[in-house]
Amino acid sequence: MSTPPVNPLDEVDRLVHEPARLKLIALLYMLEGADFTFLMSQTGMTWGNLSSHMTKLEEAGYLEVEKTFKGRRPNTMLKLTDQGRQAFQAYRKQMTQFFDEVSE
């Protein structure tokens, strides 16, 4: 009995696959780091929305959060961890493979 072919979409990382998080990860992938305000202004997300996605990514070990203070103002810098970068690279590979295999 032959095993059914594995659909790349079945194995895709759903943490990365979610559109808002994908936008966030893709942006952070190309930057060394960014603060909360910059990510909000680039992605168009609200504070609450971004905070929620950040928490999920941080819990998964994909995101590193550095909290400092500039005077009295809190400043939160975010950057992808190596694990986060690898997860994004793997996701890109899977999606490229998927679209290469999909016929018109």
Binding site: P19, K23, L27, L31, E32, T37, F38, S41, K79
Partner: protein, 214 residues
């Protein structure tokens, strides 16, 4: 998930957004306006030292404007990002360019000082040599900076800077007076300022102050 994510374009868009607050435009317009004010000081103030102090004071005020504008108005609205090697390479090239521009300006100045009032090089009087040096320096410096930083408005700013000094010479020769010197620098400065102010206002509308927790 058929939408292609062009990572390079994402990075460029993020980079370009850091120049879309209009402050750099206003800064460069004010620098040129400071030169215009210096021509007035040259006309109305007899004391050379006072003219220099006024000019340097103006430069300091303009730089303070840029710093405070970034610190208190625009960066709190758009945030900060670290661009890594992408940004470092561009900024290093622009620093090198600025250094080269200053060097060229110095060379042209030394040529000017080295020639007598009636002196010529290749049939060109010293004023025309300075004018050519000014135009080439401005166009090259701003053009290359605009290309390296992906900041397109620098091409317009470069053109306005390049226009100022030759316009001054032309008006002096046509009208046989230097009373219009202020306007020959203030006119291109005001164009740069107008564009900068428009960009700044659009920036303020597009990026309201972020309320944490909202």
């Amino acid at each position: 998930m058929s939408e292609k994510i062009n990572l390079k374009e994402l990075q460029r868009k993020a980079w370009r957004s850091t120049f879309q607050d209009g402050l750099w435009d206003i800064f460069m317009g004010l620098l040129l306006l400071n030169i215009a004010i210096f021509t007035l000081a040259d006309e109305y103030l007899a004391n050379d030292d006072l003219q220099i102090i006024l000019f340097i004071g103006g430069e300091v005020v303009v730089m303070l404007f840029l710093w405070t504008g970034k610190r208190f108005v625009t960066v709190p609205r758009i945030g900060k990002a670290k661009f890594g090697q992408f940004g470092k390479v561009r900024r290093s090239k622009v620093k090198l360019l600025s250094f080269a521009s200053v060097l060229i300006g110095l060379i042209v100045f030394l040529i000017f000082e080295g020639l007598s009032e009636d002196g010529q090089i290749a049939g060109l009087s010293r004023v025309y040599i300075v004018a050519i040096g000014w135009v080439l320096n401005a166009m090259l410096m701003f053009g290359l900076a605009g290309y390296l930083l992906d900041f397109n408005r620098l091409y317009l700013i470069g053109a306005m800077y390049a226009l100022a000094f030759p316009l001054d010479i032309l008006i002096r020769e046509l009208l046989q007076t230097d009373r219009w010197a202020f306007y020959t620098y203030a006119f291109p400065a005001s164009i740069i300022l107008a564009v900068g102010i428009i960009v700044f206002i659009r920036f303020l509308k597009k990026y309201p102050v972020i309320q944490e927790g909202v």
